[in-house]
Amino acid sequence: MTTPLVVSELSKTFTMHLQGGVRLPVVENVSFAVRAGECAVLGGPSGAGKSSILKMVYGNYAADAGQIIVTHDGALVDLATADPRTVIDVRRRTVGYVSQFLRVVPRVSALDIVAEPAIAEGIEPEAARTRAAAMLARLNLPERLWRLPPATFSGGEQQRVNIARGFITAHPILLLDEPTASLDRANRQVVVEMIAEKKAAGTALLGIFHDQDVREQVADSIIDVTEFAPARAA
Amino acid sequence: MNAHAENIAQYNFAYLDEQTKRMIRRAILKAIAIPGYQVPFASREMPMPYGWGTGGVQVTASIIGPDDVLKVIDQGSDDTTNAVSIRAFFQKVAEVAVTTETGKASIIQTRHRIPEEPLKAGQVLVYQVPIPEPLRFLEPRETETRKMHALEEYGLMHVKLYEDIAQHGHIATTYAYPVKVEGRYVMDPSPTPKFDNPKMHMSAALQLFGAGREKRIYAIPPYTRVESLDFEDHPFEVQTFDQPCALCGGAGVYLDEVVLDDAGGRMFVCSDTDYCEKRQAEGHAGPTGSPGEGEVQ
């Protein structure tokens, strides 16, 4: 089994310059690994830093110390220190991300939003749209919505667009930030199936799931984030 | 004539002082050396208003000698105010011989026409130019147009022609039609009708252009390529007239429309009066009138 994601001794502190330089340590010495075909779940109470860890792994938050090693194009890349251009390339082909909220782009249809990462990965636009339509159908998004920009969609509808967008590619690493939060039971179950398929396909998944039911169905291992709580010294 | 003899003694030959003439001649030589290039010169105040041909007059004054024979035309005509005045001016300040016959002139100063009779080697055609810069229409900055000439960036010239076609369905520019001289400089041929453009190409005569207000001189040496700009699918064409000159029957020449009465009566006659009169004298006649009938203008 390969291990496409290895995080070691990762630390993050927010410095609030507008509040007189107050330092807010978030996590310290975060270390874990996710193997191919495994779904690891970040566990712990709100505010423990689960989301921050996920965002650092995606390159969305800066890491203060430590390493985030991903296997990209057969080589090891440290996302904690990689230049922006490398991070973009890693995101395009290696690390996928399903965020909690959809960032809506004006005027772009739901179908195109879903197809976009597949096109960026190198799939023909028409094939990507066909695949996007299949994903949206599977997630029970009414077909009449596909051609509309999701700005006016409900929370659950936006979330499904977001999930389809994250799952459409064959990225070896997929990060999931509460993908089922605003979904009904039937659609939650679809997502659980999709996660199982990703695992079977050898994808390494790292996620945050507040829904205990879903968590129990998908998790192969739980990473207890409270272990990485910063020492309250200094 | 003799009454003026003492007065003109106050003037140098051909009105301009010799230093000025030298300066202008240097500009002319440079212009001949760089065909189509606008050479700046220190234009002088002339005893006539700008717009009346001060540029052409200064060029003529700088090249004219006592043995020259001068012809002056305005829109093809020898006897309109501008032509008459300038001819009289040189008779007065240079005492040169004047003529209305194209073939007999050594210097022809013109406003907006090229004579129909082909010019010969040794003749000089001096154009009066109001706005020498062909790019001015779209680019008001002189610094920029100079740079465009220097770098041969002439796309803008075609923008103007494009715009013509877009607005009128064909290239509607009928006078001051831009030309490229010897494959290099784009030049404004002064407001001559585009009908005359082909006459500039490989002409045996030296062609000099003077713009007094704008202080520019440019030239086309004899036997120089002069090509009118155009598009592949809208090639350059000269005006054609569906009837010959009403007076002399001349065809393939540039005609002026003359309104005869208030009832809409009109006729088309040669713009080149010398050419027309000569043909009439040779016995040619047009559909209207007999030789010598219509006193044009």
């Binding site: 310059h17 507008l18 782009v105 | 923008v159 155009d230 592949e232 699918d233």
Partner: protein, 258 residues
């Protein structure tokens, strides 16, 4: 990933007497990459843009561009003729005020066709067809091809300016506040259009803006400037979601939430 950057900026500074326009700016731009330069008025971002696009001679520093033949050339060692040729073929410049980048007294078709004619296209029908096609790509109806931009709305003018620049298939675009002065709804349309065109054509772009939403939507990377210097640089979403420098934190926290 291409091995070589398209555009390389090293220690570029511009001084106006003893005042700093911009100081010691260095970065690389790769093909297809969009870089946003953000900062408030007077931060030096427009000065920098002008220094990079050869519109303003920097006091010191080196700006090189990789030509289509693969050679890297120092812009300020090129002849002016070469620079101007580059500017109207391989580059584009989108001004904040479309009137600065358009010829207001000739038709939309002539505006788009100008670069083609400058390159020697001499077939009216083809030039007009290409121009009409480009108007369509920037969502201007083809029947406006013979209208002057004076008759266009602000948003249409801006789109026309973009089409005029893109017609030669440039590889690098400079944009100075491309959505400044437009209504919000018009801005959204323009941004979406730009985003699509940049993606489809694989354009590299340097976008100067004070609007962080514009930077977020268009750019991959950001440079935050203050008083002529770079205070922070990085991946756009990283800079906006986890700003490090005090000034960037101030900028980000000053955005009004809708």
């Amino acid at each position: 990933m291409t091995a070589q950057p398209l555009f390389t900026v090293r220690s570029v500074s511009k001084f106006y007497g003893n005042r700093i326009g911009c100081e010691d700016i260095s970065f690389d731009l790769w093909p297809g990459e969009v870089l946003a330069v953000v900062g408030e008025s007077g931060s030096g971002k427009t000065t920098l843009l002008n220094c990079l696009s050869t519109r303003l001679l920097p006091t010191s520093g080196v700006v090189s561009y990789r030509m289509r033949d693969g050679t890297s050339r120092d812009l300020y060692r090129m002849s002016e003729a070469e620079r101007r040729f580059l500017m109207r073929t391989d580059w584009g410049f989108v001004h904040q005020n479309p009137a600065d980048g358009l010829r207001m007294t000739v038709s939309a078709g002539a505006n788009v066709g100008e670069r083609l004619m400058a390159l020697g296209d001499r077939h009216y029908g083809q030039i007009r067809a290409t121009a009409t096609d480009w108007l369509g790509r920037v969502e201007i109806a083809g029947d406006r091809v013979d209208d002057q931009p004076r008759a266009f709305s602000g948003g249409m003018r801006q789109r026309l300016q973009i089409a005029r620049n893109l017609v030669t298939g440039p590889r690098l675009m400079f944009m100075d506040e491309p959505t400044g002065g437009l209504d919000v709804s018009v801005q959204a349309r323009l941004l979406d259009l730009l985003r699509g065109l940049v993606q489809d054509m694989g354009l590299a772009a340097i976008v100067v803006t004070h609007d962080l939403a514009v930077a977020r939507l268009l750019s991959h990377r950001m440079i935050v400037m203050k008083e002529g210097r770079v205070v922070e640089t990085g991946l756009t979403d990283r800079v906006l979601d986890d700003p490090q420098a005090p000034y960037t934190q101030l900028l980000v926290s000053s955005i009004l939430q809708v």
